[in-house]
Every structure is written in structure tokens, then in C-alpha cells.
Symmetry: C2
Subunit: 918 residues, 2 copies
């Protein structure tokens, strides 16, 4: 028999059954409520129903475990005891909330029911106790709206037509009454009017849902519990989990907790705060609060909230009173809790609090979401403050967050002269430009057809998530830094401005009015999400600053922790300089053919084309001779820029026909230069056509059939090196033979290298030249026969793009026809061109390394495919024992971080080993 | 210190130091001379210098081991003792021959020197002894010609201009003398004339080579030894070894042997014979002989020889006297030796003999080359005669020989009305048609540009080998069944007719004259090589007869020995019937798409195209419905033809655009049928274009994106099976999913299969349907993840064509650009599309089988690429433990043989194990 499971965990009165490390079972919220309780922080008593109940519920046709009822009853009794109130007690009734709480935060994606326990029987008693009939009727009004929507309609599976939902109908009833009595805001309604509204609400519920509104606290509680579990599989929640990559089988926990009220009058308040600034990372207690309000009012962004304290007031909030000023004692208590929590959790916390008639209650603590900038600063500063170790510091910034810092920003020069439309709160980093769209659906549709868009909304809600994902930026008129839009955008590192009140965003008419100006759908605007400035028109964006000092400090920490080397793929002296700025320790891939498409003269490209269209070895050798000085100079420049760091130079790789010009003028020019007719040029070009060029005459195969082409390139590399040596400079080239599948190919090319080396040594009067000869492993056979390849290769560089193409038989240019279906049907977990297919391609890599090092134990191994900048792939490279990864210069910091994180994960607590030769 | 090696092996007077099984050391000829000596067969005494001397010679700058001199001297003394003569003895001189003898026969590829020991000092004595001055001077004349050419010119590395070689110059001297004295043939010259000729020869040698002709027997002997070793690395020998795939480092042995003479008068003779007929395999002693001749005269094909005995006279040789008639006693002795040799060697022997003044001497025995027909018959008959076991019998026919029997022949109907140009000797099997060329160089050049040619020569010589290889057939005017052309063609199984005296073949004028008719270069002729008939013009060829009873009996022996199953690739009921005739045990690959290109109506192809160009699932489903009956009927026909044997049916595999029609009329028809415009058809067709279609939207990828297409095919297979069951017939389909790379693809398609199966069972009121579901392993990832694939696959069939493409990154359609260089530079040992690349692709196969069977121990494994008909690949399939190979129907017998041979090789002497399920 299975051990009896504990389904309900109680917390209250300074003692809790759960702990912070029980997130899997209790959800993040529940675990932290328990932890806070144990920390003697004031938390309203309550209990957590475990995630196992949720999985049981879905595994057993939406039935609860038999033991649940009794356990809940027992826990309710416990809450009643601590709070000194009873659920349904006409004299002293307990009200409870019922909230979801999954392992990972899914803000607003699941349901919540508040004020459970208000019934015709308990209302009079509560009015007596609070002496605040208006509050009680308002609470009942909220319960009816929320419960009828969430439990009676949604959880019952009713799907009313657009605008016919019970909540909308109740809102109409309320608007009608407000109109009738001349009330502007909800708060203008009197107790009597609210009482009448509740009667109308109950009648409306009966009319629309054909059921009375439940008047029994137990029925309300169990209805709410069911609705929260149901909402785990609601559309929004599923869609969110898909985007975030969260598993469907985690399930959610439920927290049932005694209600405390921030809306009991002006001595009551509610707020949300971060122990440090989540946007900038500054070590200042930062938050927002509202008097006489419920928590939802802050988060929903309906009212613009007040700043928490004086030091964090901004120019937008300078005129508003802070909690520090209004309730100094309570603020002091809150600030003490903040310190307690930071010291305990050693990370920035996102907290919710309520002040009920002057008493402070903590409703939540969790690790706070933050921008990349903030994560970076917190990581660096907490390390300086010795709150955390180096190893922990590097885990505090995700690669995606770091990526934000490496995001493009609006060109500062253009910003100076840009036309500012409005200012708002800087809720998401970087700069972006795009065309105005007004609905999530349009954002999805426009971006699907390749348009860059900015989603402009009064406020956002969870229904907008997919549109927010699709948009390049998000702009809202309402809401604060903790509004839905801000939270979501920050989580994704997406450029976002919220609370931009100067803008009248009208989705119905598809216009934004600002002053006397009107923007329409499709107009261009630009956002500086780091400063909160909205510009008219399309401003240019620029690359980020690699010399950001916080970034430099953080990456040094990463470098101290990581064991994997990081190089960059760079094709020119200019790229090489950028790569070094970003911390590249060498060049892992210099594609000789790319220099032909650089800026400036198209002379080299022309000469390359001449070479390609040569028919005889003599013609080809002549063309090579003409090409030689260009190739040599380019390589020399790059070697010089890297100043002795290794530079892996790949010999000509792509199928030749790629270089053949398509337009007639260029073809004619070529024909004249070659002394042949235009039709001959075309004929020769046609002769280069291939059925499957990816598996055709390319890479070393060109070097075998046209040894003069290899020879020219090798001579360019070795002469460039020799010239630098003669000039007293350092240079370390690594000659890489691409597309090999047998060691014989390497031996063939090695013979050319040996010959040219001897000639260059003689020409320059040198005794030796330092360089390596190796190969790209990008053909499955090369990996499988790596033991032999390694006999002739001093290094391997895995070309994972081609290895993925050949390993899976997927032409990268053609996968569009089926890859979307493959991902949607979960046939592949991810696009193997974005992240290494560890099971298949990874197996080839493992075999390649293992067999290669069996022959040559010191074999240097790296990766130079586009996967070299993908964190999951970098982790894989570390685990299989590569010496380095190589990626685009702008991804180098990501790679340094990812390498550090896997080093920590791979050997927690261990000192970093000495790094291999990179 | 190294053990002293024995470099020289003596044989003579019934005792030899060597044995038949010492071929590696003594060469084939030497080992067999030793063996015959030990069998008390009369062999002139001699000795063999081992192949180790040859390898030492090449490893040590062409120097001999120090011990060689003394060993040779000792052996010469031994020969002198046995023969009672002495080398250089003026009274009783010993003459010796010096012949090459490698492990494998390399007919005519190396040098020979005869009559060593004739000097001015020994000639008078020999004249006295023989009382035949004409014979002696003729022998000396031959020695000078041969030695000056082979030793003094070739071995010295002289390379005279065309027509300026010493042999040619000596021939001119001889022709001049013949003209002067009015002699027609060489034999017309008198002793005096020959003596004068020898004086002229020696003067010419001095004049041309600036050296006197050596007059010392020791110098002659060592000169000859050096020349024979040198000839191992002569051009012809190297070229022959390349073609035959013989290693360069074997080296040759040398046999020095006392001369016996067949040209000492009419009581002397020389001959070549086979213990059975090498063309037909008939168990009759078969040979050719000439009186008063040296052995070279028979082999060179200069004189048309006489038949050996009465029973083997043909219509061409009926008028000639046989040895049996001319020298009945000697013939009897020879026939006894024949019986002795066959019983001893248990295989057909190719022997050379010389009769010197009535005394029979055996000069050689070796395993005789034979046609495929002969090999088959000998194998079967020797097994019947209990000379050999089954296991030996199957090794007696090479796959290439069996292939001859499966070669196309001239259409017998066409032959009846064909215009016969001439008749000759049937020297190579099968029938062929081609265009007349006159030189080896032309044969190579014409066939390189895709022309089918027949090489027509007066006679052939070793210089012609490459041209003979390139030609589709060989035709000579001179020579017998043992002439150079016949021997070589027979070895290769190439169609060949020799001794076709009616033809005047004139290479200089590029004409063949026959009667009043003249053929020119490029004219078509046709050969029946099995009968020896030459036809004018291009006769149709037809497939061979699978019901040849000898073949059927032999293949039954193979079946009893082999453990590997053999299936055929067949795409229609007609192909299936052919496959069964050739002994296929099932169909390993039925390509559903091929049925659309069959004969008859193009309705199915039209409907397939409609399906392909469908844009919506509805359009596509409708097109599938139309296509369904065709597909079902075709599959049903094939299943019925195989009568319960397994039939592996592959679902649609190729990229769809392959099926799109290119011509406008067909496009228009399609447009009308689909109710769309012509330009729409083109647009949709363009939409199917891919950059690398081999790695594009094909195979299971189509099935994933268009499940309705899979469903239609699966329904066709299962309904066809159900219908056959209902009709009381047997059917065993195996559904094969192609181009898979992950088990998820299999699971996706398996769900469709499960659904359709349930529907078909219901529709036909059946309880069960027997079929298997499996996959093609043709993508490297599938092999690497075979452990997972096997969880959803009941069988694997390795698609080695695609596995080679992906594994090596070689597009089969594009390798032409570099494959010739790859083979020429020995970067690859062979074209991997012809024979499995065991090191790379083979490794994937091994991994696939090992991991697949780890998950599913009973996993059925086969191969269905084109490699399934290649003997080396079949051996590999056996060794890695496959259950079966599948190949084209005409290759099935080859596969049965190859499978039997590897079973014997793999476990010599073992009884065949029980065959796996095929």
C-alpha cells in the first residue's frame, strides 16, 4: 500500500508545516508563505493544498483524493483557531482567499477568488464587527463578480459569446447604477447603493447562469478550489507554459488564507515592492502602494500607485506621497522585513503586503523578476557585499538577461534630434522601432508577415500574451512598473514602456492621440525602453556598448569560473577587433570566402569569380595569382588584430556556383576578362549547377580537384604569418580543412601545406612558422572515423550546422516545409538548427571527441557552428569536454556566461580547474 | 639476429623442397612445379627464387640479399646433376629458362628469357649433341632477340622511340634476310642462314645498344633474373594489378628451369591443355598443340593449333590431326597425368607440356581460368562426382562469373534473321552489340564518352589490356581458345570471339573486310560470344534464362550453405514474378511511387500529380480518394504474386516536385482538373522547389505534414491484404516508413496505422491482420538512435543509398565533379555508391544493428539499397548479422552465391546454421 500522502500544509502563528525548499509540492507562493511564517514575519494564517492534489485531480477525471476533505476541514479549523474567527460564523466570520501557486510564477495566468465566506448569514455580523457597511457590501459585490465569472461560468465550461460573459453583464449593471446615481468612480457608490447592487447582481447571476449565487461558505470554498485547479489547464495558462517552456504535468498548488483588507479605510493600504530596484538593480527598497485598496488594484495597473519611499521617487512620482511619509512606523516595519528577507534569501525579493487598519501583513514573497541590467548589477553588488559567492553570482544572470544588455538600442545621436511623443515608465530594456498595432491578434498577424510592430494598449492583460511575444516592443498608457505589461516584458527582456499617460490609445478607432497629433495603425514609432521615451518615426538602432563597466566586471567573474574557452567567428580585421572587445580568446572560424563580400572594392569578388569560371588549371592558377594579394592582406589584418591569439582560418567552403553573378553586366565583364563569350560564361556557370549543392562539390573536395586553389590560400596564410613575424608581431594561424570525410583528404591537403611551408620558410629566411593544421568535423563519417582523422589533424572544430544537416538529413534551406509541423506535433523538442540535437548530432560529437582523443590525447576540440552562441548547446559542449566554443562576436559574452554557469552546475562548490588551451 | 631465410627452393628427379601451398613464397608456378615433382610427374629440374627476394630487391635499392648468389649456385649445381649437363659446358651444355611466377597468374605481364646458356663456346657442343644445327642457331637467334630486348634494353631502363626498339630492329634484319633468300616463314631459313643471322644480330645489338651480346652463361642468367624482377614493376604489370586489384607488394618469384624443346623436329611438340573444357565446363580433356614448336607459339596465337584429342574436335578443327592420333602413347601418358592432377588438386588444371624427341615433360600446372558457364558446370559436376563438398562447390564460381550467366545475350529471335558476318571461336560468354574500334586507346576514349564499343584486333597483346577492359566486347581475327584475348576475356566474363579468320582486320586503314563487305570505325556489329558468331548491325539483347537447370542446381547448393536471406526490390506484380523466378524469398523494397511510372495508363500518375499540387487538406483528401484504387490494386497484385512471402512496402519517399510535369499540355490538364489556372499550377509547382531536395520534404516528412497521404497508402496496403485473406489467399505486408530520424515520427505514423487497421478489420469483419511495421534506416541520426527507433519498429531496412549520401555528405547526382579524382588519388578505395563504405557507413550500420537489437533482440534487419546486390557489401551484411539483403531481381542469384560464400568463409567446415526469419 502507498504511504498516506500529506495533501494539506498549514501555516500561521509563527509556525508552518512547509518550507521554502518545498516549491515542487507547495508551489512558490505556498513554500514562501510557510518560510515567512517560520521567519516570524506576520503572515495571515492559511494552508496550502499540494500540487499532488492537482495532478491527482487531472489523473482521476477531475476527482480529489478521498483524504482531501478531512485535511482541508482540519486546516480550516486551524486557521479559525489562529485568527479567532470561524468560516460562516454569523457573529465573527472568517473570510478566506483562494489563490493558485505553481512551482514557477505564472502571473495572472490562473484564477483567484477572494472574500470567500461572505453570505447573507455572515454579512450582518461583519458589518457589526467592522462598523463599515460600505466595505462589506463592496467586498460582497467583488465576491459575486469574481465568483460568478471564475467558478460559476468559466470552471463550469460555459463559453458565452463575446461581450455576453457574466462579468461583462454585471459590469453593465454596475455602470448602469453608477449612471443612475451619478457616481463617477466605483468608490462613489454608497453602502446602500452597493447593497442594492448586490441584490441586482444576484438576480442577474440567477438570470444568466440559471443558478442561485451560493450562499454557503463551504460551497463557496470548494467551488473556488475546483476553479483554481481547472484554471491550470485554461487556455491562457497553457499558452503561457508553452512560451515559457514549463511542463504541463507540474500542476498548481492552492493557497487558502485568511483575508486581510487593504480597503478598510484610510488606515488601510496595499502594496507591492521589490527589495532592490527590479529595473536598474540599485540597492534601494523599491515599491508601489495604494491606500484603501485591494492588492489587485496595484497589479492591474488601473490606478497609478504611489511610491514606497522618498528615495525612490522619480520625476513622474515626485508629487505623490510615499508610504514612508504617510505611515512611517509601518514603513519601518516593512523595511525591517525587507532586510530580513534579503539576508535570508540572499536574492532580491518581490513582496506583497497589506495594511489592515494599521496592521502590516505579508501576503507573498518570491524571487523578483528583473531586467538584465538589474540582474547584472544585483549579481555584481551582492558579490561585493559578500551576500553570495562567485559561483552563485554567475547563476544570477540568465543568458537571456545578458542578451538584453547586448540588445540594440536607439542610436543616441538620433535620439538627440528625435521627436519625443511622450514619456512613460522604463519597463523593458533596449531600444526598438516598429509600426503601431492595437491588438494582440494584429501583432501576431503583422509580425508573421515580417513586419516589425509595437503593440500599443491602454493596459495589457493575460489574454494579450501571444501578441506581446510577437511584438518588437510594448507600449501602454496605464500601469506601473509592476503592471502586467511591465512584468511580462521584463521577464522576456523585451523593450517596453508603461504608464505613458499622455497617450490616448484608442483600439476601437485605431488611433493614438497625443496633444494635437494622431498616430494611426501602421505608423512608425520608436521606444527607448531603458529610459521610457517614445519617439515618432523610425529611429536607427545601434549595437550595445561592450565596455559597460558592470558588464565587464560581471564577465570577469564568469571568466574566473568557467573552464570552456570562448572564441568568435569573425571574417575581417574589423570583426576581429569587435570580437576582442567582447572578450573573445581567439577566432574559431574565419571564413575566407566572406572577405569577398565585404565593403569597398568588388575587385576581389570579381577575381574570385574569374577563378571559379576557369576551365583549365592554367587559367585557374592565373586567377589565383591575381586573387592572392587580397586574400593575404585580409588574413594578415585579422591575424594582426588578434595579436597572437589563435585564428582558425577555414579554406574555401561553399559550392562554387554560389559566387557566380546572376546579372548580365557582371557576366559580360567576366567574359571579357576571361576572353570568352557571354554564352561561354553562362555555360560554365551552368556546369557548376548541382542538384544538392550542400552535399556537392565544396570544401576540401574543391581542394582535391583544384589543388591550386588550396595552395593559393595556404600560401596567403603562411606568407601573412611570415610577414608579421618579420615585422616583429605575433600571429598564430590554424589552418582548417572543411567538409572532410576521410583522413586521406587531410593527407592530400597536408602535402600541399608541407610544400608551401617549405617554400615560405625559404622565401622569408625563417627557421620555423607556428601554426596548426586541423579539420572541421561536419560530415557524419568524419565523426565516426575520428580516430583516423585525428592522426592527421591537430584540432577538430565541429561544424554543427552541416553536421545537423547531414546527421538529420535536413536541408536548412528547406526545413520550412515541415519544421513547424515537427515542432507543433512535438516530433522534435526544438529546432535542431537553433539548439544542438543532443541525442543525434550530440552523439556524433561525443563519438568524434572520444575517438579523436583516443588517437591524439591532446586533440584541441571546438565548435564553430551557430550553436556556439546557444546556451544549452554551450552546456553540452562543456559536458563533452570541448576546449572552446566559437560564436558571433555579439554572442561572446553570452557564451562566457553560459560556460561559467555550466561549470558551476557541473561541479558545484568545486574550484574551477585550470582552463585548457583555447 | 634474424633467422637465415631460405631464398631458393630446388625441384627435380621426383623430389622438391616446395609444395603447392607455398604460393605466397614460391608463386603459383613455382609451387605447382614443386608439387608436380613430388607427385612424380616428369618435370624438368629447376629451382625457384622466392618472392621475398623480390621484395628485398625493391626494399634495398634493387640489390639482392647477400646469400642469394651462393644459393643459386648450389641450385644450379643440383639441376646440372639431375640433368647430367652443365651450364656453359662446351661438351654437354645445360640450357635453362628464367620465368616469372607471382602468387596470382598475370599472364604475359612479366618477362621471360629462354635458352640461357647458349654461347659461342657451347653452341658447337650442342650442335654435336643434337645433330641439329638449324635448331641450335634458331634457339640462339631467339635468345638474342629476347635477351637484348628484355634484359639489355627494357631492364636497363632504355626507352627507345616508337619502332626503334632493339627487337623491332632485329625483326627488320630478319625480314630483310628472309626477303634476300626468298624465305616466306621463319622456318624456311636454313641452319647456315640462321647462323649468319645470329652474326648480324650480335652486330646490330652492339651497334644499337653500344654493348656486346653477353657470351657468358652466368652473366646471361643473372641478367635474366634481374630483368624478371624489374618487370614486376613494369607498366603493363602495374596496370594489370590495378585492374585486378592485386597488391603491389606481393612481388614475384622466379623459376629457373632446365630447357626442354618442343621444336627439335617432328617427334617434338608443345601444347597447352585444360583438364576440363574451360569454356563449357564439360568433363573432357581439352587442349591445343603444335608439332615442332615452342610453347610461346601456342599461347601467342600466331599459328592456329591442333586439337588435343578426337572427342574435342570442333567444326573448325575437325580437319586437324589431334595428339591422340599423332602420338597415341604420349597422349595416353598425358591423359594419365591429367587424371592424377584433377584427383590431386580437385579442380580444373591449366597445364603446359612439351614433348622433346618423344619424351613428355610437364612445364606448368595451375588452376585454370574458365567462363562462368564452365565454372558453374564444373562446380556442380565435381560435387556430383564427390570430388568436392558443397562448401567448396559454392566457392568455385565467383559472383562475376555467375554474373556472366546472368548477362544479357543477343535476342535469339533477332539472331535467326541477323546477318552473319563471320564465325570464330566462342571465347567469352553472352551477347553484346557495339561500335567497331581498332585500338585500345580508342576503346578507352570512346567508352569514356559513353559509346558502346567492340575492340577489333588481329590479335591482342598485354599492351591492349586497358582497351579490352573498356570495350563491351572483343573480336580477333587470329588466336585460339588459349590466346591472350581469350584468356583475358574469360577471366573477366567479357563477351569475346577469337580466331575469326574470315575477317581482315586492318587497324591502319581502320577497316574490316569480310568477303566483299567493308566495315569502318564506328559501324555497329553484334557478337554472340557463347557461340562465336559475329553479326552486322545492332542486334537487340535480352535477359538471360533464370531456369537454366545447371544454374538452378548450383543455386540450391548455395541456398543450403548460406545463412543470409535474399529478397528482391520489386515494384510491380510483374517484377515480383521475375524476382521469385530468380529465387527471391520476399520483397525487400516495393517503392509505392514507382507504380506511377509503369506501362499502360498514365491515369495514376495524373492523379498523383493532382494530389501533390493540392493546396488544402480537403483537395488532397479528394485526390487521395481518387488515387486509392490504383494503389490498392497494384499492392494487391504484388502481394498475391509473392503468395505469403513477406513484401516490404515503403510509403511515399521522394520529394514531391519530382512528380510535377514539365510540359505545358500536362500542366494545363492538371490545372483544368483542379479547377485552377495554369499559372497557379506553375506557382504551386514552384512552391515545391527545394535547394537540396535530397534533404528536404520527403519520406515520413510528407506523412507528418500530409497525414491523409499516409493514411491512403496504409489503407491500400491493409485493404489489399484483407481482400486477399477473404479470397483465401496469403499475404504478408511489411509497412516501411522511410527517411525517419526520430522515433516520434514512427509513433506519429503508427497512430495512423492503428486507426486504419481498426477500420479495415471492422469493414472486412476480420479479427486480425498479419503485418509488420518498420522503418528504413537511411538517416545517420536514425542509426545513432536505433535503440529508440527499435521501440516502435519491428524491422529495420538499411537504405544504404541515402545513408551513404548523408553519411559522407555526397549527393549522388553531384559526385561526378570530384569522384573520379577521389578514386584516382586513392582518397576513397572505391565508389561508395557501388560498394558499402564499411569504415564510415558500415559503422553506422553496425551501431544501428547493435543498438536496435539491444532494445528489441528479435529485430529483423535487412538492406534495400543498391548495395544489396554487391558481393563485398553482401559479405559485410552477413558479418554484421543482418537477416537478409534485398537487391534487383537479376542480382538475386549473385546475392544467393555471395551469401553462401561468406557463410563458408565465416565458418569454414561448419554446418550451416538454421537460417533467420527472412
Amino acid at each position: 500500500m502507498a504511504k498516506a500522502r500529506k495533501y494539506v500544509y498549514f501555516f500561521g502563528a509563527g509556525k508552518a508545516e512547509g518550507r521554502a525548499d518545498m516549491k515542487e509540492l507547495l508551489g512558490g507562493k505556498g513554500a514562501n508563505l510557510a518560510e515567512m511564517t517560520n521567519l516570524k514575519i506576520p503572515v495571515p494564517a492559511g494552508f496550502t493544498i499540494t500540487t499532488e492534489v492537482c495532478t491527482h485531480y487531472y489523473a482521476h477525471s477531475r476527482k480529489y483524493p478521498a483524504e482531501l476533505k478531512a485535511a482541508v476541514n482540519k486546516a480550516v479549523a486551524g486557521v479559525e483557531k489562529v485568527m479567532g474567527k470561524k468560516l460562516g460564523d454569523p457573529e465573527n466570520p472568517l473570510l478566506v482567499s483562494c489563490r493558485s501557486g505553481a512551482r514557477a510564477s505564472m502571473p495572472g495566468m490562473m484564477e483567484t477568488v477572494l472574500n470567500i465566506g461572505l453570505t447573507t448569514a455572515t454579512i450582518p455580523g461583519l458589518i457589526r464587527l467592522t462598523a463599515n457597511p460600505r466595505f462589506v457590501w463592496d467586498a460582497y459585490r467583488r465576491l459575486i463578480m469574481m465568483y460568478s465569472d471564475v467558478v460559476m461560468e468559466k470552471a463550469a465550461g460555459l463559453e458565452p459569446a463575446e461581450g455576453r460573459g457574466i462579468r461583462t453583464q454585471l459590469e453593465h449593471v454596475m455602470e448602469h447604477m453608477k449612471h443612475e446615481v451619478g457616481a463617477k468612480a466605483d468608490t462613489d457608490l454608497t453602502a446602500e447603493q452597493l447593497e442594492r447592487l448586490c441584490t441586482l447582481f444576484r438576480a442577474k447571476v440567477q438570470e444568466v447562469l440559471q443558478k442561485p449565487f451560493p450562499d454557503d461558505p463551504q460551497e463557496q470554498l470548494w467551488g473556488a478550489i475546483g476553479a483554481v485547479f481547472q484554471s491550470w489547464n485554461g487556455k491562457r495558462a497553457i499558452s503561457y507554459r508553452r512560451i515559457e517552456g514549463l511542463p504541463d504535468d507540474w500542476g498548481t498548488a492552492i493557497n487558502v488564507q485568511a483575508m486581510v483588507f487593504g480597503n478598510m479605510g484610510d488606515d488601510s493600504a496595499t502594496g507591492v515592492a521589490f527589495t532592490r530596484n527590479p529595473a536598474t538593480g540599485e540597492d534601494k527598497f523599491f515599491g508601489e502602494w495604494l491606500t484603501n485598496a485591494q492588492g489587485e488594484d496595484v497589479v492591474a495597473g488601473i490606478r497609478t500607485p504611489n511610491p514606497l519611499n522618498i528615495s525612490t521617487k522619480s520625476e513622474h512620482t515626485a508629487h505623490l506621497k510615499s508610504l514612508e511619509e504617510v505611515m512611517p512606523q509601518t514603513y519601518k516595519a516593512l523595511a525591517a522585513i525587507r532586510n530580513n528577507l534579503e539576508k535570508h534569501y540572499r536574492d532580491m525579493q518581490d513582496i506583497e503586503f497589506t495594511i489592515e487598519k494599521g496592521t502590516l501583513w505579508m501576503l507573498q514573497t518570491r524571487t523578483g523578476k528583473r531586467t538584465g541590467t538589474a540582474a547584472l548589477r544585483m549579481g555584481v553588488e551582492m558579490l561585493r557585499q559578500r551576500l553570495i559567492t562567485k559561483e552563485v553570482a554567475v547563476t544570477r544572470v540568465t543568458p537571456a538577461q545578458l542578451d538584453e544588455l547586448l540588445h540594440r538600442i536607439l542610436d543616441p545621436k538620433a535620439e538627440k534630434t528625435g521627436k519625443v511623443l511622450a514619456k512613460g515608465l522604463p519597463a523593458g530594456p533596449g531600444g526598438t522601432t516598429g509600426r503601431v498595432v492595437f491588438t494582440a491578434a494584429e501583432a501576431v498577424a503583422w509580425s508573421a508577415r515580417g513586419e516589425k510592430v509595437i503593440l500599443c494598449r491602454k493596459e495589457t492583460n493575460p489574454e494579450d500574451v501571444e501578441g506581446m511575444r510577437a511584438a518588437g516592443g510594448i507600449l501602454t498608457a496605464l500601469g506601473g512598473m509592476t503592471s502586467h505589461a511591465a512584468l511580462v516584458a521584463r521577464g522576456w527582456g523585451k523593450c517596453c514602456i508603461v504608464g505613458c499617460g499622455a497617450l490616448k490609445i484608442d483600439a476601437a478607432s485605431r488611433t493614438i492621440t497625443v496633444g494635437d497629433q494622431t498616430l494611426r495603425e501602421g505608423d512608425w514609432i520608436s521606444l527607448n525602453g531603458s529610459k521610457g521615451v517614445v519617439y515618432a518615426g523610425q529611429l536607427p538602432t545601434v549595437d550595445p556598448d561592450p565596455e559597460n563597466p558592470m558588464l565587464v566586471e560581471f564577465l570577469k567573474v564568469c571568466d574566473a569560473v568557467r573552464r570552456l574557452g570562448v572564441r568568435a567567428n569573425a571574417d575581417s580585421p574589423k570583426d576581429a577587433a569587435v570580437a576582442r572587445k567582447f572578450g573573445a580568446e581567439g577566432i574559431g572560424l574565419l571564413r575566407t570566402e566572406h572577405m569577398f563580400y565585404g565593403e569597398g572594392s568588388d575587385e576581389p569578388l570579381f577575381k574570385l569569380r574569374k577563378m571559379i569560371l576557369s576551365k583549365t588549371p592554367e587559367e585557374r592558377r592565373a586567377a589565383c595569382d591575381e586573387l592572392f594579394p587580397y586574400v593575404k592582406n585580409d588574413i594578415k589584418g585579422t591575424l594582426a588584430a588578434m595579436d597572437g591569439l589563435p585564428v582558425t582560418i577555414r579554406l574555401l567552403d561553399p559550392p562554387l556556383h554560389e559566387f557566380v553573378p546572376q546579372d548580365e553586366a557582371k557576366q559580360k565583364e567576366l567574359a571579357d576578362s576571361l576572353g570568352i563569350s557571354l554564352s561561354d560564361v553562362r555555360k560554365r556557370a551552368e556546369g557548376l549547377h548541382e542538384s544538392n549543392p550542400m552535399m556537392g562539390h565544396r570544401g576540401v573536395r574543391l581542394g582535391i580537384t583544384y589543388p591550386e586553389v588550396s595552395e593559393m590560400q595556404i600560401r596567403a596564410i603562411l606568407e601573412a604569418t611570415a610577414e608579421l613575424l618579420k615585422e616583429g608581431k605575433k600571429a598564430l594561424p590554424e589552418i582548417m580543412i572543411p567538409v572532410t570525410c576521410t583522413v586521406e583528404e587531410l593527407k592530400d591537403q597536408a602535402a600541399i601545406i608541407a610544400k608551401v611551408k617549405a617554400e615560405v620558410l625559404a622565401k622569408f629566411g625563417l627557421k620555423k612558422l607556428n601554426f596548426l593544421v586541423g579539420t572541421m568535423i561536419e560530415i557524419p563519417r568524419a565523426a565516426l572515423t575520428a580516430n583516423k582523422m585525428a592522426a592527421a589533424a591537430e584540432f577538430f572544430s565541429f561544424g554543427t550546422n552541416d553536421l545537423t544537416q547531414m546527421g538529420l538529413g535536413f536541408s536548412r534551406d528547406d526545413v520550412g516545409a515541415f519544421m513547424p509541423d515537427y515542432i507543433a506535433k512535438k516530433i522534435l523538442p526544438a529546432d535542431p538548427f537553433q539548439t544542438i540535437d543532443q541525442e543525434g548530432v550530440g552523439e556524433l560529437i561525443k563519438i568524434g571527441i572520444e575517438r579523436g582523443r583516443a588517437t591524439r590525447p591532446g586533440l584541441k576540440v571546438g565548435i564553430c557552428g551557430e550553436h556556439g552562441g546557444d546556451p544549452a548547446s554551450i552546456h553540452f559542449c562543456h559536458k563533452v569536454g570541448m576546449n572552446y566554443v566559437s560564436c558571433s562576436p555579439f554572442r561572446v559574452p553570452i557564451a562566457r556566461l553560459a560556460a561559467a554557469q555550466i561549470a558551476v552546475k557541473d561541479a558545484p562548490g568545486k574550484k574551477p580547474a585550470k582552463k585548457g588551451r583555447k
